[in-house]
Amino acid sequence: MRAMATKLLSCLRSAVARLALSTPLDVRLLDRGLSVGEALAAFNAAHGDAGGMVSFLGKVRSDGDVRALELTHYEPLTLPGMQDLARTAYTRFELEGALVWHRVGVMVPGEAIVLVAAAARHRRCAFEAADYLMDHLKSAAWLWKREKRGDGWHWVEPRDADRTDLARWK
């Protein structure tokens, strides 16, 4: 009887188990796929008092003959740089919290590369923070991207538009 009750309890616990996020900032470099629904549900639960939450999910485009994308990083700089970025956004946009997750490794079209979420008292701050975080992750984080096409791997250079986007925040 007791064994059954314990089993039932642990079942209930796992049914409500949530991904544990660190608050107010959760910054991660991930070497495997991320569950967007789970991440956003946990983020929403962690910031129940925020008036609004904005998220952005970046995915591998199936452009032309792109078969895969690879992101590499430099351990001593990449994650600390992303943490600094999250802290700056937190202060600048008066956030209640932020989630900044970036994939590294090889991904195929349709797969998630990056997920950011910002929670704030009012929507404008949350929108701007998500935009700010993405512009900086695109062209000011220590990440290098290359794509595999029919004729092999090609490094992706930052576009002029990425630099212009970044300059908006200066």
């Binding site: 970046g58 992101l71 590499t72 430099y74 001593p76 700089l77 970036h102 590369i113 990056v114 993405m134 992750l137 695109k138 062209s139 000011a140 984080a141 220590w142 990440l143 290098w144 991207k145 290359r146 490094w155 992706v156 250079e157 930052p158 990425d162």
Partner: protein, 80 residues
């Protein structure tokens, strides 16, 4: 032990190797002389940064790597 040089992103392909050991101490002139001319040319570009001991140098020409230091050569980034 020497100094460990890491070639990041496209610099890795250009160098034909992910890393290389060089004797310590190593300064900017020493680094430019030790790497392939193609890499040296890239390093002189303002958009290419250099990190030593886990910190990005504000002025890479003042590089002063000691025994055991790791130097990372950082070309323009592209994330997201």
């Amino acid at each position: 032990m020497g100094v460990r040089i890491l070639f990041l992103g496209p610099l890795r392909d250009l160098a034909g190797e992910p890393e290389r050991e060089l004797p310590a101490p190593l300064d900017w002139t020493g680094l430019l002389a030790a790497v392939d001319p193609e890499i040296a040319e890239q390093l002189r570009e303002p958009r290419v940064h250099v990190a030593c001991g886990g910190r990005v140098l504000t002025d890479k020409t003042r590089l002063n790597a000691r025994d055991g230091d790791e130097i990372a050569l950082l070309p323009p980034v592209s994330g997201g």
